[in-house]
Symmetry: D2
């Protein structure tokens, strides 16, 4: 058994790990930390977990003795607000075998992007190069056996899985892409704020973070790295009145000769052997992915207007976060990549 | 008092007229037809209307004696499935003072577009030129006093109000525009079908009608007519898990010199005097428009990628259909344009 | 014109007044106070109101000079958290013609119930007897011309309209009644808290406030006062994944000879002349009432088990709060009771 | 491996079996029949299942050669509309080892209840006595090794798990019980009808089937059989604007000496060893159960009014149908009862 700790376990990505891990035969949760919820039983904060976690309670992270607190753990998942991992990873690195960070702290390879898009300089830039990027379908060999993994989040995973193979195949122009996306409210986290109350979201639909959403440069980086070219895109997120699910509707200019068939062929070539990607002619729907680690993709060219339309859907908490983190953990640990991860969605 | 008939009153656009008309002091509903619901009390099909319509019941439209059935009516609203108005208007034209059609049968000026986008030739092409296009903010003078009005629907109204003044002002390139939009489920009508059941839509989000949605040529026509130029655009609708509301997130290439300020200035210039349009820096939300006849608009240029982003939101059943039809009726009848129409939305 | 102030205008009951008042020809909003939102434009907090309120902004209530701040106002609506009205009413009473309080501070006639159910003694018990109870259908003559009105809230209005005429007619036993009810999330107010976030409520259903909900004694008082008897009931509220709407499903023991016909006859006798009550055989639905000031009621006896089932539905923010407050204001001012109030619901 | 067939696989209970079975190591789906969807790929009707079912398509049930069609199967699940199993079971009994029926055809032990509550006489009454009742927590020994199992549905499972141990312990009067319940829209099946369209349900709440819901006598039978007494109850279902989930809020008269502590003690005694039941002081919520096979229960006595309030929540498609059917299949086959069944819910 692999002894696992979750630092930042009370947020939605932590809760999703706790939901998934009972089905994993090899990972054994030994430590769950959550400062604001320290002392609270897992079952009281998340009654959906009551049957599996008995009396387990969240513990406070002891920043002065983190190394001691994680002693004996083989792998740590981190589900913290942006900025927090930068302070903790330097303390625990080397004390545990593997760290899978679900936040953005170690995803960008260019240190300069942090002040530009996150508003503050990185606190541990020397570690940026030590993390591998945890998107298994595109960077699997980097992740196998890795010590430090920065797993991408929901928007980036969706856009990158959808677009990267097509750009890499030279079928789409890498500049001027539009990623128009919508994500369920779990994407905004557990904390109550004016913008995520039921009455603010229910029966509503609006764009947010216009032109300046933080995940824009990461999309450009991830697609560009896979494709081996510079990518520039505009990203427009919308808040969807749903708990989970993300859909990216992407518009790009096809290169000469690209048509619907060549786009689909490239998606099939990239993903037909992947256990967590479904490529089909169906218009991807968020509900098909609900609760699963599966992404659903399609693409086509509109001959009339000369646009390529590429769509991808997945569950933002599973393939878009915690499911992907477990997939990375499996790879890092040398386990079968699919262990413990559902491929079918909870619908209807 | 103006005696009003609603032909096709049991569908959602008919029901929305019935919801709005009790607040209108000058329009008096005398006839409501609905073949599939003939004999059913309005209050039984729509309990929300019970307090205003007492024992009024839907009647069957007598196609052999339509002229007699509408005798004495001053104005008729038509809320029929596509194709039906083409058969009825020739029979009742001239028998009543004004006909406001909420369907698409008489919106397109080019007869050839019907077989191309609707799959069948038009049955009364000689009447196409007699209808004026019922979008008051852009074609008000055409509608004043008009006998025959074809009022545009939700997607077209939203995209056209958002984009037309900007294209007309020469701020946006008229080609290569993307209209990425989402609409609540009332947009798919009252009839039960697999795609509009609760379990198909709730907690779901997906695109539909990819590349071939029928309202595409109408958007191009309406924006182009107002702007005096040829417009080409790609329209991608999505089904929103909400009863009402439509949001269009539009992407276009700004012309040289266009910036966020000039876009906003053009919107303010076009709409500040309009009672049913709100232009602001806020990201438009469907919920702000819910139940009202008001459209909410904004626009900006992303200097980094060189895209203009133009957003518009409204209630698909009100400003996107029945409210707009009443606005047109007011104009056609020479009444004050705002009578009987709410400007504030029902939120939260 | 009647000059109106709203003290506590930024909460949901205040916002609902602001939504309804543009349709009222005689009430003119001159002052909107909201301490936490002082300085914020009404249109920024509630974009649905943008078309009607221009640049109007919330003001801070100046507790040291309240009398001066309300100078010139004819009528004040109060939409404050429990306890706040008790402190303010003594300062403004007599400075304005009428005060309509939408909170619970002056609803109970028995001072001793406040510490028992609200956890603290009343701060102005000498005023309790000066307020009339603002449920027009049952206590209309008390409200006509009244200076001080305490309008009941959503749960109490629903249960009381449903049960009071039946208990008064001697058709139901006044003891052992169960009021099992569900209310949309607007009932929990605008402030963000763990329990009203989207992800806590959406796709969820649970009871809360079991056995001890504060509105229990008020239901007993209101039904009992109208019926002239002592009433004892158990009230179980549930949180409904919807913005608005309240449904009460009530169970009571019929007295000897009571049957479905006598229950319906009593409801018809009580309400057929009422503009805001619909009695029918239909099972009342919250959506029928949405956005309207109308309550929908029915009742029946199950011969098999000997239970009477009495159901009522209304919009918790309209008939259950702000619409009712305007109805009371109309009565207090001597205006027609229905002015400015919608009877039809916004559906679908 | 156990070869499994699902007759009636395209409905929601069939789809839920298909969702759950990929996680079951011993059950192998070999046949899925669905007449209205014959020839359709599972993945096209249910895209959430695409990653697990490849090209598997629904087959037409050949009523003339059913025995041949099921040849080689060890176990059959039946997910048919009421009445259909009565015609098929006589043909396949003995041809397969085990039949688990998820419909109501073989649940009632009293043949006379079928015409009274279902409107028509039973077609195979001689088989009623051969089926065991598939509620494992209360009738486990009957199910172990059973050939024919009639698994109860959502409402009955919820009410019975909540009330039966308390009635059996003599803590509640078995007469005059009220079961007030709400269920998500999956409870009404996959077929599109006016009552389950999105716009009919969303933002709505209403009771249905008042006094005459078909599952009433089954609740009385199941509770009464476990408790060894005659039970009479009134059942009032409501339609919840959610995909899944059922909550029963039950009211009963406590016997002398019963208090909250004795109710909770009885629930703990009955269920603390059960893997799929959580007893706690928390108010049960449907969301906690979502997608899991777990029921959440609590109970209390209100000393003021003398009512016992007993609440239970579960997922109507999992523990309320297909999860329970798999639990029964495990017992019938002699496998570990919990194999393949999730205990944690998908939340948020």
């Amino acid at each position: 058994m692999v002894n696992v700790g979750i630092i930042g376990a009370s947020g939605f990505t932590g809760a999703e790990l706790l939901r998934l891990l009972p089905a994993h035969p090899d990972l054994n949760v030994k430590l769950v930390t959550a400062d604001s919820q320290a002392g609270v039983a897992v079952a009281d904060l998340y009654p959906n977990l009551a049957a599996a976690y008995g009396d387990m309670a969240f513990e406070r992270l002891d920043l002065d003795n983190v190394a001691q607190q994680v002693d004996g753990l083989d792998l740590i998942f981190m589900g913290l607000p942006h900025g927090a991992s930068q302070l903790i990873v330097p303390q625990i690195r080397g004390k545990v075998g593997h760290i899978i960070d679900m936040g953005a702290d170690f995803r960008l390879d260019d240190e300069a992007l942090y002040p530009e898009w996150y508003g503050e300089p990185h606190q541990a830039p020397e570690l940026l190069g030590d993390f591998v990027y945890g998107l298994p379908e595109l960077f699997r060999s980097d992740i196998a056996g890795a010590e430090l993994v920065a797993a991408p989040g929901c928007y980036v995973t969706t856009a990158t899985l959808t677009l990267a193979p097509l750009v890499k195949a030279g079928l789409l122009e890498p500049q001027g892409i539009v990623v128009d996306a919508a994500c369920g409210v779990t994407g905004s986290g557990r904390g109550a704020k004016a913008g995520n109350t039921f009455c603010a979201v229910d029966e509503n639909f609006a764009a947010y973070g216009l032109m300046r959403h933080r995940h824009t440069p990461e999309m450009q980086m991830a697609i560009g790295r896979h494709a081996g070219t510079e990518v520039q895109l505009l990203f427009t997120p919308h808040l969807l009145p749903a708990n989970r699910g993300i859909l990216a509707t992407c518009y790009a200019r096809p290169t000469a000769g690209t048509n619907s068939e060549s786009l689909m062929a490239a998606l099939h070539a990239a993903y037909d052997a992947e256990p967590f990607v479904v490529v089909s002619e169906r218009s991807p729907s968020t509900k098909a992915a609900m609760g699963s680690n599966t992404a659903h993709l399609t693409a086509m060219v509109d001959d009339r207007t000369g646009w390529a339309i590429c769509l991808g859907a997945l569950d933002n908490l599973t393939k878009g976060s915690s499911g992907q983190a477990i997939q990375c953990a499996n790879l890092a640990l040398g386990l079968a990549e699919t262990i413990g991860l559902p491929t079918v969605g909870v619908a209807p």
